[in-house]
Symmetry: C2
Subunit: 463 residues, 2 copies
């Protein structure tokens, strides 16, 4: 694979199948920074792609990050900034200072500049905006008027728009002359006299058409203009479902006001899939670079909620103190039943949360999926009732205890499976993000069911 | 927003911000199928995009799915098939039967056809391949030779490749004549005499260049040809990091043999982010459509593992039977400590698993992140030690019990934070996917630590 790159192509392809930053290079830059050799560090980082620089910044310890920013200024590569996680972005922006940051911002696409400037504190934001050239500042300020997480925030303002009556030749000449064209574009949008989006032509169709062909003859008119206030999650879903590479963004009157390209959407798609996972574990909005105090505070809310539910579960156990003091085996075995319920419920819940997010689970099939999870819970409940029952019998030499934990296991696994779907579906119907709160409710249900059924049955049967 | 679509653009833009299948239409098609009105169902589904048809198939009950396939045959739209989840894909393929399936396959891009045919059983696969036209069959068979999950499986064989000495005009004429061109392309690849990939020209650059300009003057030579055996996860990362829309795929000699486009990569990116979440919960490879028995069996392995660890935790409790029979409050409180450790550990683990997957956590910064999580655990440990200790004291009117659970909480939250990073990092170093097994190991550690520290301290202090 070493011979892949011909001499005239200084390929950056990493050796083997490894993608991303070379660890040896990262270590070398770290060493250079440690020796305060900023020029050396800059030279070593010169060949890096901006995504690799962003990765490097993430891997460096905080004090080296600041040095690295210093090493690269005043020509700090603007493209690095949008690639950084939120915490690092703020850190780099702060270190750059107003004028260097404004210079970097002015070189970014509107959508990237918006994303970055939106994360700044109000006072800092105003200072930076003042330092940006007027024309670009106006575009950014317009963009800030769109709600966060909307199509308006993702879009690039510069688009290629032509009238349907032009021919391909006129269009090519326009493009060759073109001044206000976007840096990258994949589709030509067709507009009517009122600048409403009425069609589009993919560039690959365009380059294959003869000069005399009219745009109206090659345009596609079945398409989805994206309303500027559409939620970015819906934009992402549309791009994914329709295999789009770019799409026009329109205002309430259907007028073309920008375009969204797939590179911005890819980040949203990854973020949305990842966000569900983070929310299920109670770490939404968290990343590996967040400072210790902020991390501890953010996580403590989730833990507090869990502490509350743990006390609820404990109070259920408390009801059976008398039984436990008589038969201590109950205390030994009771966590097993609760823990299995929690795990089985989380399995059903995880599948349900993703299915809700991707439109695979709706009210249309919810009852069928609930039934299915109930049956799955019953089947596994039977299997684990047997296993656990026999193990408990063998351990404590009492068949009745085995029977009790077996029955409780069966009950808890069915309840877990059903709750794993019902909880997120109900939350979704109530307009609450199911990923955020489902798992706390679920574990409360499975803990209470587990303790109540096992200790309750044991109190009735064993004692 | 109702006026967005001009009269000549029969826009499919859904009302409001809802993306995807209209639930009312889905219900109507369901009703029509229930009445065995296949023609009516076909007519009602006629305007649907293939991604909406795929969504509809997922929402229909199994018996209606078969009817819906029947309604659409013989012209079953091939593009629907790759959009389906694995289980549904197999179901639809089975219902279509060899000849209708072969017809559909022949209409798909190589990469989609490959994906589909790879999921078939061996005997069925051979039958279907026999029924496909020879030229396409040869391409598919070549594709099947590449390892699953490699770039070779994602790539489209047809590419636009031109020599660097051509001028833009020659190139345009070639494209206008073009026969074997791909359906969609975004970049023109530049090859040398030995057909090695040496550069590329984005279509938007190409259309802006005058006819007399040489390709060698407008080509980019800094690029990343993708080795055909590169893992698809690395391909996805490369597309995301470099904001690529398409990229050339080369063999071991650097020769251009295909291209990967972003629409295929988007699915991989979403899948990879989602897969981590599924693995953490022990439901990898599962989807909402999987049949009951398969689901139960798949999930039972994870539950079995958890049952084993639950017995380990129970045996720790068993060590302290004597203490519990004397002070039953210990049994009531002990799950709180274990449960808080499990939750805090899962928070750290979730962040670490994603950070490992995205290159934000490597050996370069692992020790720093471990330290950070330890400190976060200590801070929250202190907070929750206080809260839990006071609550336990108030509940059982014994300060010593409060002190014991507080100290145990502190210990367990620090252990949980550190383990949440150390476990996935060590697994990753050992070449094991950290998402698959981390959470079982983690909860074992936090359960054992929680029970051992609380019951151990109580045995020493309270009794």
């Amino acid at each position: 694979m070493a011979e892949t790159a011909p001499p005239d192509a200084p390929s950056e392809a990493p050796a083997g199948d490894e993608v991303g930053l070379d660890p040896a290079l990262a270590a070398r830059i770290d060493d250079l920074l440690a020796e305060h050799d900023l020029d050396g560090a800059r030279a070593a980082a010169a060949g890096l792609h901006y995504s690799e620089m962003a990765q490097l910044i993430g891997l460096l310890p905080p004090e080296r990050r600041a040095q690295f920013v210093d090493a690269l200024r005043p020509a700090f590569p603007a493209e690095v900034i949008p690639e950084l996680d939120e915490v690092l972005r703020d850190e780099v922006a702060a270190r750059l200072g107003t004028s260097d940051l404004a210079r970097a911002l002015a070189n970014l696409d509107t959508d990237d500049a918006l994303y970055l400037i939106d994360g700044l504190e109000e006072t800092k934001r105003d200072l930076v905006l003042q330092a940006i050239p007027k024309a670009i500042r106006a575009q950014i300020e317009e963009g800030l008027a769109f709600p966060e997480g909307s199509a308006g925030r993702l879009m690039q303002r510069d688009v290629v728009a032509v009238p349907a009556h032009w021919d391909v030749g006129t269009c090519i000449d326009y493009l060759r002359r073109g001044q206000d064209l976007p840096d990258d574009f994949y589709d030509i949008f067709v507009v009517d006299q009122r600048h409403r989006a009425v069609g589009w032509v993919a560039l690959d169709t365009f380059v294959r058409a003869p000069r005399s062909r009219r745009i109206s003859e090659i345009q596609e008119t079945e398409f989805e203009p994206i309303p500027v206030d559409m939620d970015e999650e819906d934009v992402a879903r549309l791009f994914k479902d329709r295999d789009l590479v770019s799409a026009p963004v329109v205002d309430a009157g259907g007028r073309l006001i920008g375009a969204i390209t797939v590179d911005d959407v890819v980040d949203v798609i990854e973020f949305e899939a990842e966000e569900d996972m983070m929310r299920l574990s109670g770490v939404a909005g968290s990343d590996v670079h967040a400072p210790v105090l902020a991390t501890a505070r953010l996580r403590s809310l989730w833990l507090l909620l869990n502490l509350g539910t743990a006390f609820v579960a404990a109070s259920v156990i408390g009801l059976f103190s008398a039984s436990i003091s008589q038969v201590v085996a109950l205390a030994v075995l009771m966590p097993i039943c609760a823990s299995m319920g929690g795990n089985a419920g989380t399995q059903a819940l995880t599948v349900a949360v993703r299915a809700l997010a991707t439109g695979q689970l709706t009210m249309a099939n919810a009852s069928r999926i609930v039934l299915k999870e109930g049956v799955v819970g019953g089947l596994n409940g039977f299997l684990f009732a047997l296993l656990t029952g026999l193990a408990a019998w063998a351990w404590f030499h009492e068949a009745a205890i085995g029977a009790c934990i077996g029955a409780a296991m069966m009950i808890n696994l069915v309840v877990a499976g059903v709750s794993g779907v019902v909880i997120p579906v109900v939350l979704d119907r109530l307009g609450v993000d199911p990923a955020v709160s489902s798992s706390v409710i679920l574990t409360t249900v499975t803990d209470v069911t587990g303790f109540l059924s096992f200790l309750g049955l044991a109190t009735m049967i064993v004692l």
